[in-house]
């Protein structure tokens, strides 16, 4: 297991190093190196997945720890840990990454710095895997930042374009603000518990080591802020739409499937230690984001921006899922979303590759020219809209909405948590169908581009087909996912696991499972695989969140699920009808804009959030900088130079006084002596006799004195 994990982790890193230094010299720009590397990781991931699933136990846990920083004052352990959630995440991340690599070969063909692109992709894969595999908060944070850097590099790949340069900077800085919150959270945990490894954190939290629930909530919320930054939730979502400046496969990989999912993964990891009101905060943020982003998506005319906002909205869904305690709903939606959103992005990539424009109003009627892309696009759109049974999206989305409904019914004052996502569901269907119609149906708006359009090569169409296949087979892996992936509850971890740090692999099958098993049985989950499509009747089992924050009773959950089933069908139909009604006829963008001018303008400008940030945060900061620099120059330097001028003034003052008074005296004396001198000078007549006479006079006087 250790070797598999290390292979999976380190091979992309090796590929990155190879690309960085040897990239240009390798044939075909070394893309085969990166693809090979990610292929190896995929194999390793599959092997791990198979190993974990074969184990059959939901709480399967394997970890390898080594003392990384060991000093008298403190020790920082760093290690890898694989449990069922990691196995799934590995599969998702490496799977999508592999498909994106393949897609990139076709898409990025002929770009300069081709080798660097693949290098950065490998770096991204490495950091994402590190994040997923790491077993402690600090490790996750390291992965967090590395992922941030690789997204910076990838978004800024077309850096000669000024907009790309700004976008990558904006992405990194917004992430950094999120990381600020996460850092504080980690430090709060370190301060309170003195330990960072997740298992130990669960254990200590379970044992009530936190000073007070309030601080635990604050810690939870702070860590969630990190997730908000990374998964582009409401306050910090501004970077994701701009991140579309990067190449499309990058958007597919990073901004659809993996990186943005990291936030949800973190919340998933922290699930056991999140207090009820922390979860509430998460749910609200999720709901708001879902609704808010969906509305903006309606009016976007750049195909990638539509998908970007849809991603933000879907992430909101996942947060709502986790917020209301539906561990399975949130995380499963993450996996399904990864699949169909990646497919959508890659689809848009192939469209852009074909018509060389991102503006949907310059496309139209492409379904005849690009059948495969069209087909996969429709499947993924169905998935995101939650088309029942056939698509994986249905399972995850319904579960979230169902739980949210149940939550809403159970705690009516939080009804908004259900209402917003429900409305967002309708809007999602609406904008997805709008994009589909404008792009693929109707007559081509730009004849010349339409003629030029053609289906991409095998590297482009293959990934699309694979992803759409995964989307369709949703029902197959819904059951196993639900059975295997259960949150590690803090109470179950026996203390002795953490007694001693150990180096090397410790395959704990024994100790943990039976204690966890007991929990599973008690939860009353039937063993039967969940093959039957209709979801409603499985509602019998009631699965309250492990920590039981909300203790949502079975009844409200039950009604919730049934109601949601009908509501979502209704939403589906409503959305599709509305969109076709509006967009089918050859309406142009301006016509529509005029009709809804007011709301349209607000939505189009993304609620002026960017402008607000610019005015509210960036400009005052810049102004403050100029002020402090000026202050630095004027005041401090002023003080220093002031003291210098002061001393100069003093010195000149003393100089003046020196000149007037002291010099005066000296000159006075000089002039006096001068006068005497002059007087005496007349004495010096130069005639010897006078000298002699004076001399004698002197001696005579002396003699007289002497004698008398």
């Amino acid at each position: 297991m250790l070797t598999a994990a290390l292979i999976c982790l380190l091979v992309p890193l090796a590929a990155f190093v190879v690309q960085l230094f040897l990239g240009t010299r390798l044939p075909r720009g070394g893309d085969f190196v990166s693809v090979g590397a990610i292929g190896a990781s995929l194999l390793a991931a599959c092997w791990i997945f198979w190993q974990v699933m074969a184990g059959g136990e939901p709480g399967y846990q394997w970890s390898m720890v080594f003392r990384w920083v060991e000093v008298e004052g403190f020790t920082i352990p760093m290690g890898l840990a694989i449990d069922t959630l990691t196995a799934w995440m590995l599969l998702v991340v490496v799977g999508v990454s592999f498909l994106v690599h393949v897609f990139s070969i076709g898409y990025m063909h002929g770009e300069d710095r081709y080798h660097l692109y693949f290098g950065y992709l490998s770096l991204f894969s490495f950091s994402m895997l590190w994040l997923v595999l790491s077993d402690n908060l600090l490790g996750i944070f390291v992965g967090w930042e590395l992922v941030g850097v690789s997204s910076y590099l990838l978004i800024g790949f077309f850096f000669p374009k000024r907009s790309a340069a700004l976008a990558c900077k904006k992405a990194f800085l917004t992430n950094r603000v999120g990381d600020l919150g996460m850092w504080l959270g980690i430090m709060l945990v370190w301060k309170e518990l003195g330990v960072l490894r997740l298992e130990q954190v669960y254990h200590h939290v379970g044992a009530g080591a936190f000073s007070s629930e309030a601080t635990l909530t604050i810690a939870g919320v702070l860590l969630f802020v990190g997730a908000v930054g990374k998964s582009a939730q409401l306050p910090l979502h501004v970077w994701l739409p701009d991140a579309m400046e990067g190449p499309t496969p990058v958007s597919a990989l990073i901004h659809a499937a993996t990186m943005v999912a990291a936030g949800v993964y973190l919340v998933g990891r922290l699930f056991p230690i999140l207090t009820p009101d922390a979860l509430l905060v998460i749910a609200y943020v999720g709901a708001l984001t879902a609704f808010f982003a969906a509305t903006i998506a309606i009016v976007q005319d750049d195909i990638k921006r539509v998908l970007a906002y849809s991603t933000v909205s879907q992430l909101g869904y996942m947060m709502v899922g986790l917020g209301v305690g539906s561990y399975f709903g949130g995380l499963f939606h993450l996996t399904t979303h990864a699949a169909f959103k990646a497919c959508l992005f890659l689809g848009s990539g192939s469209v852009i590759h074909a018509v060389h424009t991102q503006n949907i109003w310059e496309m139209g009627g492409l379904r005849k020219k690009m059948p495969i892309t069209f087909a996969t696009w429709v499947i993924s759109t169905a998935a995101i809209s939650g088309f029942p049974v056939l698509t994986n999206g249905f399972f995850s989305k319904e579960r979230i909405l169902g739980d949210a409904m149940g939550f809403g019914l159970h705690l009516p004052q939080h009804f908004l948590i259900f209402a917003l996502p429900m409305v967002a569901a309708v809007i999602t269907v609406f904008y997805m169908t709008r994009v589909t119609i404008v792009t693929f149906f109707g007559e081509p708006r730009d004849r010349e581009k339409y003629e030029h359009a053609h289906e991409g090569g095998f590297e482009i169409t293959a990934p699309l087909m694979v992803l759409s296949a995964i989307t369709l087979l949703g029902f197959a892996y819904a059951g196993p996912f639900e059975r295997m992936v259960t949150p590690p509850s803090s109470t179950d971890y026996a203390a002795e696991q953490f007694a001693a740090f150990h180096y090397g692999e410790s395959l704990r099958t024994g100790a943990l499972d039976e204690s966890h098993g007991a929990h599973a049985a008690e939860a009353g989950r039937g063993e039967a695989a969940h093959e039957e499509p209709a979801h409603a009747e499985t509602g019998a089992e009631h699965h309250e969140a492990p920590w039981g924050p909300h203790r949502v009773d079975a009844h409200s959950l039950h009604t919730g699920h049934r109601a949601v089933l009908y509501l979502s069908l209704l939403a589906l139909i409503l959305g599709v009808a509305l969109a076709t009604l509006i967009y089918h006829r050859k309406r142009s963008q301006e016509a529509l804009a005029r009709r809804f001018s007011g709301t349209w303008r607000v939505l189009y400008n993304k609620y002026f959030v960017d402008e607000a940030y610019q005015a509210g945060v960036v400009n005052p900061l810049l102004w403050l900088n100029r002020l402090s620099a000026a202050f630095d120059r004027v005041v401090i330097d002023g003080a220093v130079n002031g003291s210098a001028t002061l001393t100069r003034a003093l010195s000149s003052g003393s100089g003046w006084s020196d000149l007037r008074i002291i010099d005066g005296i000296v000159n006075g004396i000089a002039s006096v002596t001068q006068v005497f001198g002059a007087a005496f000078r007349r004495v010096e007549t130069g005639r010897i006799q006078h000298y002699f006479a004076f001399f004698l006079a002197g001696t005579l006087v002396l003699m007289l004195i002497r004698v008398y």
Binding site: A693, L696, A697, L700, M703, L704, V707
Partner: protein
């Protein structure tokens, strides 16, 4: 007054007279000749004081040497200049005052000081005593004075040579 005293007075008077003449005469040549007589008077005084060697030396050096030297000086620097050696009384006044002052000082000192006189002993031939003294106790000054004379000799020659020859060296 004994015979000797009267001769002494005579000689003293003679010396002082010629001395005054040297001082007050207009004619510088006459002054020079008067100087000779003054030196003779002083030599006589030495004889009275039983310093015979000294008298001879005085006569020899002063009488012979210095007066001739002065005459040379007079002759060389005197040719075309008038004899206007007049004495302006205004300048004389301070000089008289100082000279008088000095005389009074000396006079009073001489009179009031009680020299422990010792009975004048009849010295017999001082030259032998002077000779031995020069060669023994006063050898150093004697040597120095010889060096001095040599230096003066050269110096005088050097200073007094014709201005033309300076560049010669």
């Amino acid at each position: 007054m004994s015979f000797e005293a009267s001769i002494w007075y005579l000689v003293a008077l003679l010396t002082l007279g010629t001395g005054a003449y040297v001082v007050f005469t207009r004619n510088i040549v006459r002054a020079a000749f008067a100087l000779v007589f003054t030196f003779l008077g002083v030599a006589a005084m030495y004889v009275f004081l039983r310093a015979d060697f000294l008298a001879a030396a005085q006569l020899l050096i002063y009488g012979g040497g210095i007066t001739v030297l002065l005459l040379f000086g007079v002759m060389l620097t005197h040719r075309h200049e008038g004899m206007e050696l007049k004495l302006d009384p205004l300048k004389a006044l301070p000089a008289v005052a100082i000279a008088g002052g000095f005389f009074v000082a000396i006079w009073s000192a001489a009179r009031r000081a009680d020299w422990d006189l010792v009975a004048p002993v009849e010295p017999v031939g001082t030259s032998e005593a002077i000779g031995s003294a020069i060669m023994t106790t006063h050898l150093l000054p004697f040597e120095e004075i010889s060096v001095l004379l040599l230096v003066v000799l050269i110096g005088a020659l050097f200073v007094a040579r014709r201005s033309g020859e300076e560049e010669g060296s």
